[in-house]
Amino acid sequence: MPVWVDPEKCNGCNGSSQPPCLRMCPGDLIVKDHAENKAYLKYPEDCWDCLPCVKVCPEEAIEFHLSFQFGSKGARLIPHVPKKGNQITWEAIDLKGNKEVFTIRTKIMQVALDEKVEGGAEAIDFSI
């Protein structure tokens, strides 16, 4: 599974119906389980490994995993996006645990915790 939401860390963005991870995925792959108040990647085979979901989560609850067919588990790549300051820090940890840190310029744009959806007020349930 390319990205994984840690249910221990995800707080559902405080009851948000449109949390940032779900909004920022360009493929509409993340959904929120409202009963559990947690987000999860619903369509792993459609993930592009592009990481907007990981970078935008205020709780750093989303982990990036390479599909196992590409390499061993254990290596880690973790972005940290500070609230202020135009930079992003990446922690890169190899299989032996060696760590390299990259701090790279960027332009931080604030992302609201929730966002109104245009159109009809209620989501329609198409299940049968």
Binding site: R23, D28, F64, S67, V117, F126
Partner: protein, 572 residues
Amino acid sequence: MERKIIHTDFLIIGGGTAGCMAAVEMKERYPQCSVTIMEKAHIDRSGCLAGGMNAINAYLNKGETPESFVRYVRADSCGLVREDLVKSMSELFEYGVKKVEKWGLPILCDDDGNYIPRGRWNIKINGESLKPILAKAARSAGAKVYNWVTVTNLLTKEARVVGAVGFSLRNGTFYVVQAKATLIATGGAAGIYRPNNTGDASHKTWYSPYNTGAGYAMGIRAGAEMTSYEMRYVAIRTKDAIAPTGTIALGAKAPLVNSDGERFMVTRYADLGGDGAPTPYRAHGPVQEIKEGRGPIYLDTRGLSAEKVRDLKSAYLDMYPSQVLYWLANDIDPAREPVEVQTTEPYVVGGHCQAGYWVDKDRRTTLKGLYAAGDVAGGAPFKFVSGCWAEGIIAARAMGSDIEKMAPAEVEAEQVDAEEERAFKPLKGHAKLRHGISAVDFEARLQKIMEEYAGGVSTHYEMNEKMLTIARDRLAKLPGEVGQLVASDLHHLMKVHEVIDRIDVAQVLVEHLLFRKETRWPTYQSRTDFPNRDDAHWLKFVNSIRDPLTGEIEMITRPYEQIVPGDRYQAK
């Protein structure tokens, strides 16, 4: 289903690179006009730029001119391009780039404040946030944005495009947008061919898997003239991760080598420019090496300093972070081990090749009221982000000046009803049709045909008349089966429309491949029955128009016009 009707002056379908820039230009030049963007994802992180960018790949560095750019792109495209389009876009590179820098994009500069070139036409950026920057500019300029609206078709009245329809992925609202002028900017098409990777990595493609050719398909169905689909893009990318290689080849100056360590581009393609051979040959070279038993192919990064390797990793973190995790998870240090590369499944991308709408110099399509910019527009390869911005700007200016002459447009109620029916049928079918076909299964069928008979990876991208005729016959059955597609929710409804659109694109693509009886761009378009370039007969554009009523695809040709003098096969 709730129906929402929107009236707007300008409609932009697809809020990506080109769409966002067009919106800003429209609002700046025509502030009194209303601008509406319909985007299937969220404009903050949608399309190709979702992960970020690390370079602007089309820019006139010191000493270059629009003419030198045309000469380069023409030679890189094996002598056939729309020179008028390539030239007009290059004239606006600087305008677009300076704008985005003003909005906050960090561009790497030397001590004197000049942009740092990366190769002949590229400059380095820290573009991790390029997409949110563009989105903010579009919103601040006053464009009204509808996120999560998958546009399914154009609306036409008396051969004029008068808007578009789509549905909300969030609540199923059916949107009817009535517009005086419409810009299509939905990007190119991935997923026509079987992807390199399988399983939970099947979307680990280079081109955005969410650009599925919708914009092409809408135009094809409405009878717009299309050009150059046969020039498919086969990219050379890092093995497995499918990350762009320009970062290594240009950024770290690493050459291509085969398994014997031979710089085969230099030895075997010297007459074409060696490592600087036209892009199709830089995919063709590796494919031939592998075919002839000298694979795998690598970018030779051995001997890079630790600092250079760090720079390389930083650059990937700005654009394609999974490449860095791939190295970590495989214990690869590019300074010790060369980076293995492979060629991708073919894409239909007007920004790297020239597949797309046939447009005039102002990016007007052949349908009145419809304009095209970015990867969806044809004739002008080597676009990249800056060319997409330029085209968005050109189209916006044309739309503004045309709109004054345009009578108000009205949509036809019957057409809207029929489109609503078409859009939601797979959902309704779900309840009734127990043996319906899922988008995933349908896509597998389409990709199998394209892979095996229309020049996929496993046939070394090669094809002949027989194979293509089989592809044509097998594809011809698919539209008849579209009625059995079912969707269980709105996300799957989007996926159903994606596959419907891909079928329309694939059919046109195969007709183009059949029509061009020469090999102009090896590997992009390798005809084993016509293996050579044939300037005497084929120095022209292959175009198509699908009849909106009968569905018949008519093939036509358009002449090539040389604007910039010089040898068409020489970049200098």
